[in-house]
Symmetry: C5
Subunit: 359 residues, 5 copies
């Protein structure tokens, strides 16, 4: 718990600090810069040590994608910001993790934040910041490992659309890869829901509720992560004529469509979660009622029997008068009493049965 | 369960694949192409083997409707896309099933997706993709069998409005047929609700809840399938001056009206479902309460009687003093005790009755 | 049930039929046409047998109101549509009952649908279709009997505003009459709610719930009938400059105001319904709790008494030692035991009383 | 009940009556007209008997405020409408009480309806109708008594802003007075809520629920009365450039601000009401559970004791064998049995205690 | 309680008072004026005794920030209003505490109200009023102590951005400080929620509910305080071109972003609160059910045993016939009876166990 708390504090920067202050996390990995520059005919893909070395790529290639893994060094970040003339507020957002997906237009570039699902880590999503202008795409990730290998492969294999489009198409491709990466996450949740469905109906456990709650919280987190993307992609579509070509817009519209289906899927699972919960409560309450009913039926049958037993345990003196408990002196007295009890018990059972109380 | 899962995976294409990739389902039926071309005076209706053969129809006839049943062959689809200059993203949507109803304008045509109810199959709805330009309507269906026979009959019988209108009117007629095909679906649900209504009030079963849940889920699925059509038809009305004539717009407005009534009907049934559920819970809870009340009344009556019996079962020695249980030696002692019990039981019954606890 | 079902089917026309098909109900009453034509100085009011006869009125009078009761004859309807050049989609809406209130502008006239409450019939509302142009108002009703007698009287008595205004004012007057006709309906519901309120608090019956549900469903039906009028009147106000004068607009604004108050009243009653339901549930649950509490108190008092009685019913042999149940041989043993029981019962009653469990 | 019902009927006028019909309540007080006319330097404040006498004021003074208390005389109202050229629909609204707050622009004046809280009467709010043009403000109230004395004092004391502004400022001042008059109403509700809060937690009574319901209904009535003012003031701000000066607009913006705070306060109290209700239900349910638990514990302790007593009340013959109830012949048999009982009871109490069931 | 009540009354000014009346709280601290004036190169920071002395700063320095702590002296406030030509309605808002965050444009300046969290005081938030024009920023606080020390430090340390920007940037910096000051508040709530989470699951107490309610109320208060800031900052962004530079707008957009994250965080905690409550209710209800089940099981086991004991306590005379209770005379009679009881109890326990009722 302590760890998560300190993380959250770090995420929102230092309250009261001047705007533009970079709240670098000392434990964050050091930045590693990798450049993929390409044109219709050729490409290079190499690590870069110094931010200053980047200028040459920008001149030489139609499109340069600079990817930075790790945000643990203020100097490097400031150098990069210098090379690409990033606004200091945008740079602050890059390092203050926990941003919602958004699009912010600046004079010389568009700044886009998306959140990439990271199933194998202990955090739900990783912040990816994209800046793209006319000739470059600059991306920042919290750490190594991403869902962009498919995009890289398409560049390196020289697929025609990718190679001949600008950085806007590349940015679209990355955003699309992020959106698509949520589907396996949802698939996992669907499997958990299927399992829980069986468990709730067949054999509800004490921890079933907490499992449902866990999925519910996971879905809420996903909803909060996914939701803003929709608005972000929409504003890319609407406002960004300067940096986004009409062809890329068509692709973004498609990506928006995927986003809506993602949102819809999350809503479906949230409904299923609520249904599961209410089913669970009904099942548990029915069980409890069943238990109480059976217990009460047992007690209710034996109490009258006990009364009859008590009746013939009374000590009225048969010697005083013929009226005083003559049954005690009957030859068939005891069998008669047992029969009376059996009849009473049987009668009650029949009555309960007829009423349908054993169903 | 396994089957449905794999289907869903197929539906959303391969994550990370480049846009425009056709995720052809190997089990999907092979495409069968059928052309109905017509003008005010004449028509042809024949199967076509090769996509290239289509160009001649487009030249010869005012309106050509090309219907494709089955999406199981990439080559054919790509050929068709070539003939009609379909955008690769649109083509990708055609084969990635599970699209929501939508309208997307392209340069040379409008792309419309609708979902057709397929009651006799194990899936709820089938995706129908329509492309229409100035002279053609191209439709893709997942498999054979649709609800368009009425429309075909109208063309072949030479109804004047149909024959003399363009592909926009034909597209409207198909969309209208799809919308109308939802009404019988809803009719079926209404009958199920009527039945369940009787069952809940008269004789609630263990599986009544799951039946209600099933209808509820069916309605949710229908709502999700129907909902986007409304927006889609609306955007056809608003944005599509190039491809839709004013006269067809009037008809689409009528179709939109039907859509709203469909939505309203679904909402009514959803409300009924919720009412049924709450009625069911009330009925079940009332029954349980009734059972517990009767059981408790029985126990409550016999416990005091048992006490009296226990009282005269005490062994105080009447010989020691006259105060010690003189009743035991009364001539009418036993009848007196029985009478006391009867009076007590009767008194309690009268009290409970007066309180209205037997109602 | 069967009857209502077939009616609903009829209402939405035949699925798959071409647009403009008239789904005439064979059991519907035959049309009766009545014309009221008037100018500032004079009027005529007479039945008309043939639709062709109407043309003469249109020429001779400033305003002609043609009212048609009954929709059971396709030929007559098509003739009327011919005389007034009605669009075939509008005519289809006239006979396909179950339309929501709406306004549709056509070239030569406005088409308005409203739903008139019909308390004395087994259906909740009756569809009234109005067409009005520059010189005529054409109304279609499902059957004889309406709430327009006040309007007719105003025309015949020669009230100045009515006589000198155009068909738009007449249409307004009819719509206003329809809106006003909902108020007595609501008044009835209010009285039922008042009655139920007393019943729930004083003497809840088994059928109280179903009565509340009935009112709730009635209110939902009214809400669905009333709701669309609001939007319809609003669109009359906004869009219809061609056919509606500024003066009539002022009156429509007033009518819109009434509509809002109607809607508000329905919402109030719906809230009251929900309150009634929750009060009912609370009352019933309190009663049940009360019953269980009293029963349990009775049992709880007698069980310890029964224990004491059982105690002195034990057969330990007093002859063996002085310790073995010496009470049995006390002179005051029996009174002592009775006193012990009375004290125990009294003590428990006092304890329960002090705890406030008898409140 | 009868009285309130007839009132409501009166309020919505006669259904089917022609628009502009004045539904005068015969029991309504007769109109009393009072004029306050003023300019920067002087003022008059006098009752006026005849509506015709008003024309002279309008000519002589920059601002004339005509206040009419009571709506019980049609002739007077029609005369006033004649002098100020009020539209007959507006006049109809003046007498048909139960209007929602609204602003309606007419050619020569603005028509504003507000609802004034009237705590001391049996109705919640009183309708105040304001008409103001360039030189006059005409107000209609249902009866004598209002919250405008502060405004009158400011005029008579010659406060500069008031005296030198036009009728729009005066109208603002009255509307502001009405808005402010709701605050004491809310203060009263807050005090009731505070009291109920104590009552619910400390000593919930049978009528606590109905008290909460009463406040809830009061708040709903206030919300319905207050709500439309917000929109009304807003439309005064937006649409009324002809009759409202920029300076008065600033004040209306302030008034709108108060309105929002009023609405917010009502929402807070509504939330508190809902919280109170749920707390009450929890408290009552906890109490009931507590009672049942104690009762069941008592029964559960004595039932095993009763069993032991019953055990040694069995009549097995000790003479037959040594195995038959040798305890009965023990010298310490009875103390042993009592001890067994005490141990059993103590054991159960200890177990229940350890489980925390007495908390 | 009395104190809070009187405070609220004070906050909304005197109802019926003329607009612009200053409702000075006599207990409020006296105003202390402190001026920080600065330009790119230099600054002064000194207390000022008289409002008249301020004019000289306004002339001499590019930016003058006048901060007023305490609102307890009408004369001072009116003097300040005179110097800066504040509108009397704005001045009224400054002293009538309890304003919602808002932005109001006036001719010569913008008037902004924000609410600053004040964790260490008994009120939740303190009202801060900002007026800024081209050369000055005037702030009013209720009392000494604020969250602006960071901003002051940045001015005094001569940070370049701050020193060379205008009063709009300074105003932004203060608003940003206020927004950031809410984060520690939320952090505290999160810690309380974590604690309660443990408490609810591990060891729910009687006061757990009231603790949850308290947090809920706190969150509602925060939501109401925070909510309007969002709209206020948004309207600063939209409407205030005259007084806000493009560069400051970029910063305000960033601040708006923080605001949204604040709102989102509050919503997350509200959801957690609701979850906690429902978990608590489930836990408590489960416990109660558990108690009742165990108690009922105990009673249910002993009642049949008691019946058997009662059976052999019956007094049928074995001497009369061999059928009358021969068991009593068996040598193994007593052990047989005990065995019967043990078998019955064991059987029931086994049955209950098998049914899973001890889980």
């Amino acid at each position: 718990m302590t760890r998560r708390r300190s993380k959250e504090r770090r995420r929102r920067g230092l309250p009261g600090a001047p705007p533009g202050t970079l709240a670098i996390d000392p434990d964050a990995p050091k930045p590693e810069i990798r450049v993929i520059a390409f044109g219709p005919e050729a490409f290079v893909d190499e690590p870069v040590a110094q931010a200053e070395d980047l200028a040459s790529y920008l001149e030489a290639w139609p499109v340069t994608w600079i990817n930075v893994d790790g945000l643990g060094d203020e100097a490097t970040l400031r150098e990069l910001a210098g090379v690409f003339e990033l606004h200091r507020l945008a740079l602050e957002d890059v390092v203050s993790l926990g941003q919602r997906a958004k699009v912010e237009p600046y004079e010389n570039c568009l700044f886009v934040v998306v959140r990439m699902p990271t199933p194998e880590q202990d955090e739900d999503t990783e912040q990816v910041s994209l800046f793209f202008g006319k000739k470059f795409l600059l991306t920042f990730q919290e750490r190594r490992g991403d869902c962009f290998d498919g995009v890289r492969a398409r560049i390196l294999q020289g697929r025609q659309v990718m190679r001949s489009s600008g950085p806007d198409y590349l940015a679209y491709a990355l955003i699309d890869a992020v959106v698509d990466a949520y589907f396996p996450e949802l698939e996992k949740i669907r499997e958990q829901l299927d399992q829980l469905d069986d468990e709730v109906l067949g054999n509800p456990q004490k921890n079933t509720v907490s499992k449902i709650h866990e999925i519910k919280h996971h879905l809420q987190a996903l909803r909060r992560a996914i939701g803003p993307h929709r608005e972000a992609i929409n504003s890319l579509l609407r406002e960004s004529a300067d940096f986004v070509t009409a062809e890329t817009s068509l692709h973004l519209r498609d990506c928006y469509d995927h986003m809506i289906r993602l949102t819809e899927r999350v809503e479906i699972y949230r409904e299923q979660c609520a249904d599961l919960m209410s089913t669970y409560l009904t099942v548990v309450s029915n069980r409890m009622n069943e238990v109480m009913k059976v217990l009460t039926i047992i007690a209710t049958i034996f109490i009258p029997l006990g009364f009859i037993a008590g009746l013939y345990g009374m000590n009225f003196d048969p010697g005083v008068s013929r009226l005083n408990m003559p049954e005690l002196a009957w030859a068939w007295g005891y069998p008669y009493a047992l029969g009376l009890m059996a009849a009473l018990a049987g009668g009650m059972l029949w009555f309960f049965k007829r009423k349908g109380w054993f169903d």
